[in-house]
């Protein structure tokens, strides 16, 4: 590797990295003339089924047993202690590990089979039940972490240790964005009191160039902070300022040859374009009433999950590569029945509406929608089990998520837990496998999308990951 900074440009380096994936001819052409975008532009090695992702992250660890993993045995044996033959001596969290009794807790909510695919859904999710033929349930997800912080960091970045690039950052880096007026990766967090914190590193860029980090759109007058011109600065003045800045930056680049200078300029130009595009996309006033009926009345209140689902659809329509919603509040150690009811009410209708809305617009064909949390919950009650109340502790050994849209086997269920809903009985899907499959759907080989940092190649799936082809249509 030459050491002359004029030769060692980042673009040069990125090409070298991406070269192992092959065809870059188009990428080179496509960026000709444009200011640096710092995107590896790895052309899909195979045809991508999905062009974009909407990830409905249910933070806190929603119970699989009150949602989609139907376990009648738990109802039949409600109150009996968790058999040792099921637990097999596995360690528990500190929160329930010192309980004298681990009473099995059946779901308080009725399950029914829905759709042509006859899949079991709890009564808490009537609207989701209505689109069940579009969903592909994965009931055998498992993770390595037992607490929120490492588990959610693991799911979002592929590592329990903070600091790695997030899923969306990898996709932004690897594929760029179809719409250069908006960020490739947008994050929408439900505005509500959160039991577990959601921090920017979950959508951070880690060691990737910082332009790939997720941009959080906030509810309220200023969706992106500091985007609007300050008082006294007109749009014309801003434009002239950027033009002058551009001249200076190009002169500096000609002298020093560091592509970071152009990347910085590209960011400033992107912000300028976002001054127009962000207000346009976040303004829901052009949506007809029936859309608000579909997503639910909440959708009229900015910052709710329903409003964010609607916004996610608008962003997807405009080509944003990765939209990640975070809805906190699923950490139900106690008072689970009442809390589940609330959370289901907040999310069920809008999640289902998003599927319906994407589908009728022809967008579900190439949009992947994911619903899921960072781990599951125990089949026994944390705290006292009464006739109408119980809680569930963290459970990393199995949890359920659903996928819908581009390239997934709609109307199916993959993987099985044992009849107690404690261990995985068939076809486990590790978080790394899940990431590998997600990248695969976007046409990216998870072993090939790498970034060299501190002397070694990093990737979203670290050194593991299997594409779960059984999930794919």
């Amino acid at each position: 590797m030459p050491l002359d900074p004029r030769v060692l440009s980042r673009r040069h380096f990125l090409r070298g990295t991406a070269g192992s994936l092959g065809a870059l001819a188009l990428a080179e052409l496509a960026t000709a003339g444009a200011v640096s975008s710092g995107v590896a532009r790895v052309e899909p090695p195979r045809r991508a089924k999905a062009r974009r992702v909407i990830y409905l992250f249910q933070s806190g660890g929603p119970s699989q047993l009150e949602t989609f993993d139907y376990k009648p045995v738990l109802n039949a044996r409600n109150g009996e202690p968790l058999p040792d033959s099921v637990r097999q001596g596995q360690r528990l969290t500190g929160m329930s590990g010192n309980q004298s009794l681990l009473p099995l807790a059946g779901s308080q909510f009725r399950f029914a089979q829905h759709g042509c695919s006859r899949q079991w859904v709890s009564e808490l999710f009537p609207r989701t039940a209505g689109v069940v033929d579009e969903l592909c349930f994965v009931k055998s997800l498992h993770t390595e972490a037992i607490n929120h912080d490492p588990a959610i960091t693991f799911l979002c970045t592929g590592s329990e240790i903070a600091g790695r690039p997030s899923m969306g950052a990898w996709l932004s880096y690897g594929l760029g964005s179809p719409n250069r007026n908006l960020p490739a990766f947008v994050v929408l967090v439900t505005k509500k009191g959160a039991d577990q914190p959601l921090y920017a590193r979950l959508w951070g860029s880690g060691f990737l160039p910082s332009e790939h980090q997720g941009v959080q759109f906030l509810a309220g007058k200023e969706p992106v902070l500091y985007l609007a011109n300050p008082d006294g600065v007109s749009a014309t003045a801003r434009r002239r300022q950027l033009d002058a800045l551009g001249e200076l930056a190009k002169a500096q680049h000609a002298r020093e040859g560091d592509d970071e200078i152009l990347a910085r300029l590209a960011q400033a130009e992107m912000a300028f374009r976002m001054q127009t595009s962000v207000p346009e996309v976040t303004d829901l006033s052009d949506e007809p009433d029936e859309v608000f009926e579909l997503y639910g009345a909440d959708a009229r209140t900015p910052g709710t999950y329903a409003a964010n689902c609607l916004l996610a659809r608008r962003l997807a329509e405009r080509g944003v590569r990765f939209v990640q919603l975070f809805h906190p509040g699923w950490d139900h150690h106690g008072d689970l029945p009442a809390s589940m009811r609330n959370l289901a009410r907040e999310t069920d209708q809008a999640s289902a509406a998003l599927i319906v809305d994407l589908k009728r617009r022809g967008l579900l064909d190439d949009t992947l929608v994911v619903w899921g949390g960072e781990f599951g919950r125990t089949n026994y009650s944390q705290g006292k089990l009464t006739s109408d109340n119980y809680g569930r502790d963290h459970h990393p050994r199995c949890f359920t998520a659903w996928l819908a849209g581009a390239g997934v086997n709609a109307g199916t269920s993959f993987g099985e837990t044992d009849e107690f809903g404690y261990n995985i009985a068939r076809d486990p899907v590790h978080v790394h496998d899940f990431h590998a499959t997600l990248l695969h759907l976007l046409g990216v080989d998870h072993t090939a999308l790498t970034f060299r940092y501190q002397g070694r190649d990093f990737r979203l799936t670290d050194v593991a990951g299997r594409v779960v082809h059984e999930l794919l249509s």
């Binding site: 192992s20 188009l26 045809r47 308080q108 042509c116 209505g130 250069r180 405009r318």
Partner: protein, 539 residues
């Protein structure tokens, strides 16, 4: 086998190719001087010759020592090395004897000792010829010296009656010469870099340091092929970047042979014509016209792509090594009108497989252009002001399979335009302006067509759980009532023949004069896969 030496010792070993030239030069010079002195043409100073002799002897020792170190590094072995080593040792021993004899014979003249000394000098110089030759063979490969003199084998005379390739071993005739040309100088009889040799069948089967080079289970994953196909600047690429690379034809031949299971006997039919076989006369098929290599797929023009990029239209290659494009105008939707879209898309028209014009301002002129795009498979016009006149411009597009017309300005008059598209597989008509009657007619006339009209699914449970031990309170508001069915067709059945769920009259198809109802728009697909069996199940 190889002892690991500290790195500075390795450097000494690698100095062998440098050091070895000293004893060669010194002994040849010494032999000339002694020959001249023998015939009395020169009176040599014994003192000077003494220095010379010792220089020669010590350099011979150094050569032998460094050679021994080098020979124990990875990548060397075989019979040639062994012979070179033996001769080298003899030379070093002789050199010491020469030095000793010279020391003894220094005082007298024409004594027996002096004669013996001179004989040893001549013998050493003579022995250096085969020793050096064997050494050169190790580094430059067999026959390096005389290769330019060798006549190229004449191509075999064409003989139309010669039997076809049957019986000819592709390995022997094509692959072995190819390996010999490109690989065996480092991975052959005399040198086994990475403990790999490719000069015999057994050696190939044995593999090297990284394991087997042939993968019979997944031939495409064979190390031999994978390494060759890596980018040239990749660390693992073979042959190394600075060595001559195999031609595309040679690579194709090797690939065909490996993919055929790498047989050492018999012919491989799929071998590309005109490859390497010209170098193996015996295998040259008679009268077989050389097929030209498949041409590189044509690529869209760079300036046309740059123009799209400058306007922020997104262009993506659909897949690697292909030339079909997805063009997405979402970033410039609000200003993408007929003039702009036609100007940008026309120059790359032959490559467009997918065109996304959602929320754009396009109309008839763009659809006229689309009608002429030969590879177009998916056209997204969601939210664009498309009317009946514009849609009609698509005519009978020969490849268009997916068409998004949600939120357009059509009327029932467009039904004919949709029916005219022969390859249409999926169409999205939510809020397109087509009435539910027209959509029902489209469904029944083109039952294999997937029509999405934005129907809100019915969420009534098929089978509710009958009994639950614990009851829940506060049931949630029920699902919305399904829209009133628009179709006037009355199905003959109550239960969906595919799923067994209750029939929704909205989803009915006409088959064999019967109206058959389904529970959802997905089930008719399975019905059409085997209508008779499904019907039999109904009756």
């Amino acid at each position: 086998m190889a002892p690991t030496f500290p790195s500075f010792v390795q450097v000494l070993g690698r100095a062998h190719p440098l050091v070895l030239h000293l004893p060669i030069g010194l002994f040849v010079g010494l032999a000339v001087v002694e020959a001249l002195a023998l015939f009395g043409w020169l009176t040599a100073s014994r003192r000077l010759v003494g220095v010379w002799v010792w220089l020669a002897a010590l350099s011979a020792l150094a050569s032998a020592g460094s050679g021994w170190l080098l020979g124990h590094e990875d990548g060397y072995g075989g019979e040639t090395l062994e012979r070179h080593e033996n001769l080298g040792l003899i030379v070093a021993a002789l050199a010491l004897i020469v030095a000793g004899l010279h020391q003894l014979s220094r005082e007298g003249t024409r004594t027996t000792l002096l004669r013996l000394y001179r004989g040893c000098v001549f013998a050493t110089a003579a022995l250096l010829v085969p020793t050096g030759h064997l050494g050169a063979t190790l580094t430059h490969g067999d026959d390096f010296l005389f290769e330019p003199l060798r006549e190229k084998p004449a191509p075999a005379p064409k003989d139309p009656s010669a039997p076809a390739e049957s019986g000819v071993s592709t390995y022997a005739s094509v692959i072995a010469p190819l390996l010999e040309k490109r690989c065996t100088s480092c991975h052959g009889e005399s040198k086994h870099k990475g403990k790999l040799a490719l000069h015999t069948r057994e050696a190939i089967e044995a593999g090297g340091e990284s394991g087997a080079v042939l993968n019979r289970a997944q031939p495409g994953e064979s190390e031999l092929l994978v390494r060759l196909k890596l980018p040239v600047d990749h660390d693992d690429h073979m042959p190394p970047g600075d060595k001559p690379q195999p031609s595309a034809e040679e690579l194709a031949a090797l690939e065909a042979w490996i993919l055929a299971g790498a047989p050492f006997e018999g012919a491989v039919a799929a071998l590309p014509a005109g490859v390497a076989q010209s170098e193996a006369p015996a295998a040259k098929p008679a009268e077989k016209p050389a097929k030209p290599a498949p041409p590189e797929p044509k690529r869209p023009a760079a300036d046309a792509l740059a123009a799209l990029d400058a306007e922020f239209a997104h262009v993506e290659m659909q897949e690697r090594d292909g030339n079909l494009l997805w063009i997405d105008f979402s970033a410039l939707a609000t200003r993408a009108d007929d003039a702009l879209v036609t100007e940008l898309v026309r120059p790359v028209g032959e490559f467009v497989a997918e065109l996304s014009l959602a929320r754009s301002q396009v109309g008839a002129r763009t659809l006229e252009l689309a009608a002429g795009l030969p590879k177009l498979r998916r056209l997204d016009l969601r939210g664009a002001p498309i009317d009946d006149g514009a849609l009609a411009k698509l005519g009978a597009h020969p490849t268009l399979a997916e068409l998004v017309l949600a939120q357009t300005k059509l009327t029932d008059a467009s039904l004919d335009a949709l029916l005219a598209l022969p390859k249409l597989e999926r169409v999205f008509l939510w809020k397109s302006g087509l009435s539910s009657d027209a959509i029902a007619r489209l469904r029944s006339e083109r039952p294999e067509l997937h029509v999405d009209a934005g129907d809100v699914p019915d969420s009534a449970p098929a089978d509710a759980e009958t009994e639950i031990k614990l009851s829940s309170d506060a049931p949630l508001p029920g699902a919305p009532a399904p829209e009133s069915p628009a179709a006037a067709l009355v199905p003959i059945n109550q239960k969906c023949p595919v799923s067994g769920s209750p029939v929704n009259p909205k989803y009915a198809v006409v088959y064999d004069g019967k109206v058959i109802g389904f529970c959802c728009p997905n089930c008719p697909k399975e019905f059409w896969a085997n209508p008779e069996a499904c019907l039999a199940e109904l009756e």
